[in-house]
């Protein structure tokens, strides 16, 4: 089971954090600090796996963003790399050539897409089509909803 998933920038700014088991805020902050310092300090072309306490850390860099997750002992590291990749593909499909800014400005969407893909730290649905379809469906639902609403001017 995946324990957490973090997205952070090269400067260590956290862009998305998902915790699959409840943790205290202090503990979360410590993990974020440890992960960013550890992963950002890695040299290029080193392997994508690390040991941290009793967790396996799998990370990969996509453009300016690092995707980093913590796995339990019995989890499969290589497949976790592909979980990260599939998530990137899903973001890509939704935003169209996703970049860090998309995730900053639409952070809630990034969370929703992740929820379609993973749940409780396990893969819920691996088919790109199915996930895209259900995100599409909720967007459709959303758009129809919007018609009934008059947005007040900001």
């Amino acid at each position: 089971m995946m324990r957490f998933l973090l997205l952070f920038s090269r400067q260590g700014k956290i862009r998305l954090q998902k915790w699959f088991l409840p943790l205290g805020e202090r503990e979360k902050k410590k993990i974020i600090r440890d992960m960013t310092t550890m992963v950002l300090a890695r040299k290029p072309r080193t392997c994508n796996f690390l040991h941290w306490k009793d967790l396996k850390i799998v990370y990969k860099r996509y453009a300016s963003l690092y995707f980093c997750c913590g796995l339990e002992e019995e989890d499969n590291e290589l497949l976790a790399l592909e979980v990260l990749h599939r998530y990137v593909e899903l973001l890509d499909k939704y935003f169209g050539n996703v970049c860090e800014l998309d995730i900053i400005f639409n952070f809630e969407k990034a969370y929703f897409i992740l929820d379609e893909f993973l749940m409780g730290g396990e893969v819920q649905e691996t088919s790109k089509q199915s996930i895209a379809k259900s995100i599409e469906a909720s967007d459709m639902l959303q758009e129809t909803m919007e018609e009934y609403m008059s947005k007040p001017a900001f």
């Binding site: 089971m1 956290i14 699959f20 088991l21 409840p22 503990e27 902050k29 410590k30 993990i31 040299k43 072309r45 080193t46 392997c47 994508n48 796996f49 690390l50 306490k53 009793d54 967790l55 339990e72 002992e73 019995e74 499969n76 590291e77 290589l78 497949l79 790399l81 592909e82 990749h85 599939r86 935003f95 169209g96 900053i104 400005f105 809630e108 929703f112 929820d115 749940m119 409780g120 730290g121 396990e122 893969v123 819920q124 649905e125 691996t126 088919s127 089509q129 199915s130 259900s134 909720s138 967007d139 639902l141 959303q142 758009e143 909803m145 919007e146 609403m149 947005k151 007040p152 900001f154």
Partner: protein
């Protein structure tokens, strides 16, 4: 088309986010945020009711602020309001807020649970999924309690949509992980297994994850999943890459599902049914064959997914550990990966090989890769890969290659990354000890270790080398010579000074004959380091000096002068000052006989598990993980028999600890010095500070045997926690007369009948241990048995101390634990063999590892046999391992308690007993007993404040049983009424029987 414009696009939010991004400083950001928070607060408080959109926007802004790392203490109510909106986006944001900012306010939780309930029963799959996600994301006990019944029902209902099934399966998995006691097992479990046959691969994937967790806890209930999993796997493995459509990932058929299925099979031993087993072997062979085929794509995703399945298959092969051909093929495959150009694969191959090394079939095959692994250690650019190489060298080490591996690790240590040095040091120390054929090599290795990486040599390492040198007299001379030489170096590590001081203080006489290492030279050498050392080392050196006074009368004057100097006698450090004063006095007033007695060589250390090994284990075990996870993992390693890693190690290769004991046990009894015999009153003084008190014992009654030398914190010089190992078994005043009597009458002692095959089982102290873990279990004139135990979840460890109260050795000592039927199927007790000889006055420690498999009533019996004098003693004691030891306390609120109480209302679930008080009815004592019993003591639950209420969960390997208890005292009648409710009648009965004896 940039999707950003899809759906809504809350302009206000976007503006706020870019404002924040434009902030030049942290202060500016905080200012902007505070402004926004004030704005939102006023909107929420304002008289004008907000429309859904605005509410959503503000809640989303709060969420953003929270995720930036700022505290948010309001907005929960508005978020909860959004949950009941029938507009999807509002609901969605509401749920997201709730999931991220979990709040424990119980009013709020009731509202949230209501909203979830509505959505679960809405039959709208999108809403149901949102609700299930919220349960999984929050996953609190309150939610688990509220929905533990609904989620399984949704999962197996015939009309549930596939996507909802997937969410329900994983939601249930999540709840089961954090609140397993709340998930009712029932007829839904068998239907879950059949989801493995579902048409929808997404459903199968999610269901497999759930089944893995359930099967780890209740293997028997999910046995049927094995054949279904094999069938499913076989279909995937043999499918063409296009068959599975979107479940094919970069030309690999359903890699996620394949890995899950292989993982599920690792919960079980190899299938017994030959057909299923054959089919599985075929699958595994196919996976191994595919690794040799040319890749279908150059993309790294393809090779990752393919190799993920391959590594998981190899894990299964290693787990089964039954097909030598598969094991060797797996090993060869990993061997290929060791030289692969992908760093990731090299890393994983090293990691997998570590587990392979512990299989007897493949240990030799793994060893053939030693050169590659050593090369990896030298050439890998990536520290985490090098770390794996160290691990593998450690795992593949045996007697045949120990010297090479230790040498390589030592040389790597010189350049190793600081982060892993300590671990390498521990590993080298363990290997050197475990595979030492010559002790000279061992001593050299450890001294090298200190030389190369002194800062990383923990206390345990140098304690250990001293233990071994003390216990092996054939290495003492060599050790003295070697440390003497090592100390010649102009700069040597303080740890070396410690070892040197200790060893020369004990055995300096063995090299004093050589004029190059005469007593004075030895002393001057040690003393030249004195001023550079820290206080504890100086204290140790002072003890070494006083030992020198005894060993070498010719340097007495020189040493007394040193002790007398102001820098010692008036040292600001009270410990040093005290030692200097006491040692000086001792050397002045004591006669040489007394001096020789007081400063006698240290007696051999009792054999015990290597403290280094314990340290390494502790290092590995350090984690942030919650308790649930810890034990789950432990359980995982030995699920359902088969060869797991840990047992494999003990089976195929002697474990380090057993080797260590070999090493010590094999040591011939020292001949060059008297054995400790109380009657001759030889006093042993360790090189530790003398406390005034101990000193008093010395001078006042030098002929009384004394064991406890000191109570100063550094007394536990060899750091093994039980400085009492040599002592507390016998009372200081154990008079010779008494032991004489025992000698004479031992044959007529009623408790130790002569040579009878089965002694009556003694249980007089048994019930005293129900509510506590430590104490004296049994005592007669010969023997005292003390217990210290600790329990965690379904596991326990018991330290049994056998104190020989006599002055004579116990021979052929053996202590074993017997679990009669049906207990042997309910409780695993693993006993470490005890040393067959217990010296007079000595104490022997034995460790029992206990695992509770299911609930039980009987308690195991400890059988002790030994020869004392001419007769065989046979003692059987009931060991206080009782069901309540496996309690984990559960705190709960009054409302929850009564809800659960109501749920456990079947007549057989409740057991009640009314009984007379045997002790005074003191409230505090009663409270302590209930807590000692293992449950949480719940305050404010029972309306009557004089009643006691407790709750806890009994953890066994197979099931967990939630228990509630209520104790009502009636002081007038001096009676109690005890009521227990648990989900299992037998558990209620047993707990009631145990606890009612305590008051």
């Amino acid at each position: 088309m940039p999707a950003v414009s899809k759906g809504d696009g809350m302009r206000g939010l976007a503006v706020f986010i870019s404002d924040i991004r434009n902030c030049k400083s942290k202060e500016a950001e905080i200012k902007r945020i505070n402004k926004e928070l004030a704005n939102i607060r006023s909107k929420f408080k304002g008289d004008k009711a907000l429309d859904g959109y605005s509410k959503k926007k503000y809640v989303c802004k709060l969420l953003f602020i929270f995720l930036l790392g700022h505290d948010i203490d309001f907005g929960h109510m508005e978020a909860v309001n959004l949950l009941s909106s029938n507009k999807y986006t509002e609901k969605q944001i509401g749920y997201l807020f709730i999931s991220v900012l979990v709040n424990s306010n119980s009013d709020l939780i009731r509202l949230i649970n209501n909203a979830i309930k509505n959505d679960l029963s809405s039959r709208n799959p999108t809403f149901m999924n949102l609700a299930l996600h919220c349960i999984a994301n929050v996953g609190s006990r309150e939610m688990a309690e509220a929905f533990a019944a609904d989620v399984p029902r949704i999962l197996v209902a015939g009309d549930t949509m596939d996507s909802v099934k997937q969410s329900a399966a994983l939601c249930l998995l999540r709840l089961n992980r954090t609140s397993p006691d709340l998930i009712p097992m029932g007829e839904w479990t068998s239907r879950v297994v059949h989801l493995l046959n579902d048409q929808h691969l997404g459903v199968v994937t999610a269901a497999t994850s759930l089944i893995i967790t359930l099967a780890q806890k209740n293997p028997d209930d999910f046995k049927t999943s094995v054949s279904l999993a094999v069938a499913r796997l076989s279909r995937i493995v043999t499918s063409a890459s296009t068959d599975l459509q979107d479940y094919t990932y970069y030309f690999v058929a359903a890699p996620w599902l394949s890995v899950k299925l292989l993982r599920l099979l690792q919960c079980y031993p190899p299938p017994e049914d030959a057909a299923i087993r054959g089919r599985l072997t075929e699958c595994l062979e196919t996976i191994l064959n595919k690794a040799q085929e040319p890749p279908k794509s150059k993309k790294v995703q393809h090779s990752n997914a393919k190799n993920a399945v391959l590594f998981e298959a190899i894990s299964l092969i290693i787990h089964h550990d039954s097909e030598p051909t598969l094991l060797v093929r797996a090993c060869n495959q990993l061997g290929q990966f060791l030289q692969h150009r992908e760093t990731n694969l090299r890393y994983l191959a090293l990691e997998s090989m570590c587990t392979l090394a512990s299989s007897e079939f493949s240990h030799e095959a793994v060893k053939t890769h030693i050169e590659t692994v050593i090369n990896a250690l030298k050439t890998e650019r990536d520290v985490s890969v090098r770390q794996r190489a160290v691990d593998l060298l450690y795992a593949m080490c045996d007697r045949s290659n120990a010297k090479q591996i230790v040498a390589e690790m030592l040389s790597y240590l010189e350049t190793a990354d600081y982060s892993i040095r300590e671990e390498i040091v521990l590993k080298v120390a363990i290997l050197a000890e475990k595979y030492a054929v010559e002790y000279t090599w061992y001593v050299d290795t450890i001294l090298n270790l200190i030389r190369i990486a002194g800062d990383y040599v923990s206390e345990e390492v140098w304690y250990r080398v001293i233990q071994i040198v003390i216990n092996r007299d054939d290495v003492q001379g060599y050790a003295a010579k070697t440390v003497f030489e090592a100390l010649q170096a102009p700069a040597c590590h303080e740890n070396l000074v410690k070892v040197g001081g200790y060893i020369l203080g004990e055995f300096g006489n063995l090299i004093a004959g050589d004029p190059r290492s005469s007593p004075l030279i030895q002393f001057n050498l040690l003393h030249s380091k004195f001023h550079l050392c820290s206080v504890p080392t100086r204290a140790l050196l002072l003890s070494a000096y006083v030992k020198f006074i005894n060993l070498f009368p010719e340097v007495k004057g020189t040493i007394q002068e040193v002790l007398r100097s102001d820098s010692q006698l008036r040292n600001a450090d009270v410990e040093l000052q005290q030692r200097a004063v006491e040692y000086l006095r001792l050397s002045c007033i004591a006669s040489t006989d007394i001096l020789a007695t007081v400063l006698e060589e240290m007696p051999p250390f009792p054999e015990r598990e290597s403290s280094i090994l314990a340290k390494l284990k502790k290092k590995k075990g350090s984690g942030t993980v919650s308790d649930v996870e810890d034990t789950r993992k432990e359980r995982n390693t030995n699920v359902n028999g088969s060869t797991d890693h840990t047992t494999a190690t003990t089976n195929t290769k002697p474990s380090p600890s057993s080797f260590v004991s070999d090493l010590l046990a094999a040591a011939p009894p020292p001949t060059n010095r008297p054995r400790p015999v109380p009657s001759s009153s030889i006093l042993h003084m360790p090189l530790s500070p003398l406390s005034p008190q101990a000193y008093a014992v010395h001078s006042a009654a030098p002929l009384t045997p004394f064991y406890q030398v000191t109570s100063s914190p550094s007394s536990d010089l060899l750091g093994l926690g039980n400085s009492s190992a040599v002592n507390s078994g016998s009372p200081p005043a154990a008079s010779n007369a008494a032991s004489l009597l025992v000698d004479v009458f031992s044959e007529s002692l009623p408790v130790a009948p002569l040579g009878t095959a089965s002694a009556p089982i003694i249980e007089e102290n048994f019930s005293r241990f129900v509510c506590k873990n430590n104490g004296v279990l049994y005592e007669n004139q010969l023997l005292q048995i003390g217990l210290k135990s600790e329990f965690r979840q379904n596991l326990g460890r018991m330290y049994v101390f056998y104190g020989n109260k006599t002055s004579t050795q116990f021979l052929n000592f053996s202590a074993s634990v017997v679990c009669h039927e049906p207990l042997n199927a309910q409780l695993n007790v693993h006993t470490k063999t005890a040393d067959p000889v217990v010296d007079g006055g000595a104490q022997l420690q034995q460790i029992l590892n206990i695992e509770c498999l299911s609930d039980f009533v009987e308690a195991p019996v400890l059988n002790i046999n030994f020869r004392y004098g001419g007769s065989v003693q046979n003692i059987a004691v009931r060991l206080p391992v009782t069901l309540n030891k496996f309690f984990q306390p559960t705190e709960m609120m009054s409302q929850d308690f009564f809800q659960r109480w109501k749920q456990l209302s079947d007549p057989q679930q409740e057991v009640q007993k009314i009984f007379k008080a045997k002790h005074s009815m003191d409230t505090e004592i009663t409270k302590a007993k209930i807590i000692g019993f293992g449950t949480a003591l719940l305050d404010g639950v029972d309306p009557n404040p004089s009643n006691f209420v407790g709750a806890g969960v009994i953890h066994t390997k197979t099931i967990q049983v939630g228990c509630l208890l209520r104790l009502e005292p009636n002081t007038q009648a001096q009676m109690y009424r005890l009521t227990l409710r648990t989900s299992r009648g037998s558990v209620s009965q047993r707990l009631c029987d145990l606890l009612s004896e305590q008051f």
